[in-house]
């Protein structure tokens, strides 16, 4: 199928305004060219890899990433400071520690109830749940069969997109308790070590720009 569909696949991914799953690409092609077109998800995967190789060779500023169960075009990290200058990404604040903590519990334990979340965190989590629901990073899916039938919370596609994950199973697993115990330094601040300086420079720039530029709150 190679070259005939390469450009079409590229065009479909390029013009989709949300990550497009392989199945949807196939559906679009079959819709136009007929059901008998022989094209598989594997073909799509290979084509995307091939396209990305070309973008790399051509030193393009963007490539196709796998995110939220689909494919999407996105700029490369090297251009962060320039695109950060004009992007609306900058108007989103980073999530708080409390929000990240709550999210990681929901992500690994989903579907999960509020009492279960609170039992792990040791604090009331109403405010956190409201905030995460508002940001569409989590949602409600049914009720638990336990006493009181509390509501169940799960993560969304928006969650995957926010953290740049392709599938929920791509989340790194929480370490086992035994492993945690073997640490010489029990509570090392991994995040601070791993966040490189570049990040902070960009964050600063983004914040400076935020305060100086007129806020545009389009969410689309």
């Amino acid at each position: 199928m190679d070259n005939i569909y390469k450009s079409i696949i590229e065009a479909l991914i390029f013009s989709s305004d949300e990550p497009i799953p392989a199945q949807e690409i196939i559906r679009a092609i079959k819709e136009i060219d007929g059901e008998d077109v022989a094209i598989t998800p594997k073909n799509i995967e290979d084509t995307v890899d091939q396209l990305n190789e070309e973008f790399a060779n051509d030193e393009k500023s963007f490539s196709i990433i796998r995110v939220a169960n689909g494919f999407a075009f996105a700029t490369k990290q090297e251009y962060a400071k320039y695109v950060g200058f004009l992007s609306s990404v900058k108007s989103h604040r980073r999530l708080s520690h409390a929000a990240l903590e709550t999210l990681s519990i929901i992500a690994y334990k989903q579907p999960i109830t509020k009492p279960e979340i609170e039992a792990i965190r040791g604090v009331n989590s109403d405010y956190m749940l409201t905030t995460l629901l508002e940001k569409r990073l989590i949602t409600i899916k049914g009720r638990a069969e336990t006493v009181g039938r509390p509501l169940l919370y799960v993560t969304t596609d928006e969650f995957l997109k926010y953290f740049g994950l392709y599938k929920i199973t791509d989340l790194p697993k929480p370490r086992e308790v035994e492993e945690i115990m073997q640490d010489a330094d029990f509570l090392e601040q991994k995040r601070q070590i791993m966040m490189n300086q570049m990040d902070e420079v960009i964050e600063n720039e983004i914040e400076n720009n935020e305060s100086s530029s007129d806020e545009n709150d389009q969410d689309q």
């Binding site: 040791g122 604090v123 009331n124 629901l133 994950l165 929480p174």
Partner: protein, 239 residues
């Protein structure tokens, strides 16, 4: 003692983990008296009492004191005759919490990376058809959206706008008179007795505020308890 910002901790578990690290304690053999004392000191010195979590700190304080009490009693044994360590549940909770705290740090790294990329920005020039209602109508829609839509539909109902004001079903005034009742004629009551049977955190918190208010007014006094409970309040003559 280090001066620390209490509001940088996500909750009581986080604070306990901090003590364990700072003092290089063995998590499987936590010196419970010591850590309770530390916890209570910080709890009292909270620079800002965050109302959402004050109740949770109170709860942890009482848990710690309960463990402390059980440590002094003859050892309990389980079905197999093995000794039960009263600290076991707390240790498990701490370890479980730590697992997710670590994960949140990983998520934070993903977040930083993701903030450095940007998706294609505008699609004005790409003509797309109107959506096919039947296939895309409720894509990515969940019961949360349903509830939200219902609430909005009801609220936007033109004829009879409903203005809902959320009220606490408990006031500081009410709790002040409740405490005064309990400590009338110089009677004494421990804080934990006072909040016994209060299930909503907000009620405990408001009671705590009322308590502070009364101390300020000189209507009640506080003293250390001989028991393991943290403090006892007693009534003072009207001043």
């Amino acid at each position: 003692m280090y001066k620390i910002q209490l509001d940088t901790f996500e909750g009581p578990l986080d604070l306990l983990l901090f003590f364990i690290k700072r003092d290089e304690l063995d998590i499987y053999d936590i010196p419970i008296s010591y850590i309770t004392k530390e916890f209570m000191t910080y709890f009292r010195l909270m620079e800002k009492l965050d109302l959402e979590t004050a109740g949770d700190f109170i709860l942890m304080a009482s848990t710690l004191m309960q463990i402390k009490a059980r440590m002094l009693l003859p050892k309990e044994v389980d079905d197999k005759g093995d000794e039960i360590d009263p600290r076991m549940d707390l240790v498990n909770a701490l370890l479980e919490y730590k697992r997710y705290k670590e994960m949140s740090e990983e998520l934070s790294i993903f977040e930083s990376q993701q903030r450095r990329i940007k998706y294609r920005g505008n699609f004005v020039a790409d003509e797309k058809r109107n959506p096919d209602e039947l296939s895309t109508l409720l894509k990515n829609i969940s019961v949360y959206d349903l509830v939200k839509a219902f609430k909005k539909a009801i609220e936007d109902k033109p004829e009879e706008p409903i203005h809902q004001v959320r009220k606490f079903n408990v006031t500081i005034e009410e709790q002040i008179s409740h405490i005064l009742d309990k400590t009338d004629f110089g009677r004494e009551v421990s804080f934990l007795e006072l909040i016994d049977g209060m299930f909503e955190k907000i009620r405990i918190v408001v009671t705590f505020v009322a308590l502070l208010e009364l101390i300020k007014m000189g209507r009640i006094g506080l003293r250390e308890s001989t028991e393991f409970n943290d403090f006892v309040l007693y009534g003072l003559a009207d001043g």
